[in-house]
Amino acid sequence: MRCRQVVDKISEYIDGELDPELVRELERHLEHCEDCRVVVDTTRKTVEVFCHTEPAPLPNDVRERLNQTFRDSFRKGEPN
């Protein structure tokens, strides 16, 4: 496997969805290619940091306007 193919397969590899034979080929490549090891590792970390990071709290003004919308809606007797 060449570097270019490793890059093409990164998503499936880090998601654990790559065919086992291709996993073996890819990992053989990684054993001797430092650059691809770095790219695979940092791509995995990229995905992890996005999925691990909790969203910021709602801005206070946004929360207040949302609550107001609900109060208005409840006053009108929606939906039941």
Binding site: V39, K45, V49, P55, A56, L58, V62, T69
Partner: protein, 206 residues
């Protein structure tokens, strides 16, 4: 995705029986996730707030139709995604059928340019709110369709199949866009987390 709430079923049942406080309690568990989805997809705070408001009201009005086959969050975020896509369509930033294959000149993003290991785990390298802000900023460097796909798959943890179905795209298109998005974001984050990082962390804004 938020941790599972033990009392979610009872809150849903109460909301479906007409208890509006139960609905608000339920929604408040997820409102900042909905806002983040809206912000990621639309790229601006005003639209994100509209998405939150409109999807929350739609969910409230339709809560009786929620079957309980999926988690409440999955159900409500679908409503929010549709609202956010509506905003993109209005601004002509979302085209259903065109240009789903890589365009000329975009190919470059397949070739990693920043080859540098990261000095520390991002979660340890900076304050939590700085990290939240950085991630919100770099995701906007993707085009609207790519960042929508990335947000659903990698931020909100939908499967590839669910993402494709939700967006009316084919699975190969979702996979291709996802790969390109991950590689592009990797490049961007390496500028901050690479051992010889040149960029300072973003300074505090909203």
């Amino acid at each position: 995705m938020p941790a599972h709430l033990d009392n979610e079923h009872s809150l849903v049942a109460a909301a479906q029986a007409g208890d509006s406080d139960a609905f608000v309690t339920l929604l408040n568990q997820y409102s900042r996730h909905i806002y983040r989805v809206g912000l990621s997809i639309t790229g601006n705070h005003q639209d994100a707030e509209d998405v939150l408001q409109e999807s929350s009201l739609k969910a409230y009005r339709a809560i009786a139709e929620f079957q309980g086959n999926s988690r409440f969050y999955t159900w409500v975020v679908r409503i929010a995604v549709n609202e956010a896509l509506g905003k993109l369509r209005k601004r002509a930033l979302w085209k259903e059928s065109s240009l789903d294959e890589p365009r000329e000149g975009e190919d470059r993003s397949y070739i990693p340019l920043e080859i540098e290991s990261w000095g520390d785990d991002p979660e340890k390298a900076c304050l939590h709110n700085e990290l939240q802000q950085l991630l919100a900023e770099v995701i906007q460097k993707l085009d609207p369709k790519s960042r929508t796909i990335f947000t659903l798959r990698d931020v909100e943890q939908f499967t590839i199949e669910e993402t494709a179905k939700l967006l009316g795209l084919s699975i190969p298109v979702v996979k291709t866009r996802l790969l390109r998005s991950r590689l592009k974001l990797r490049e961007e984050l390496t500028k901050y987390f690479g051992k010889d990082a040149r960029n300072a962390m973003p300074t505090g804004r909203r």
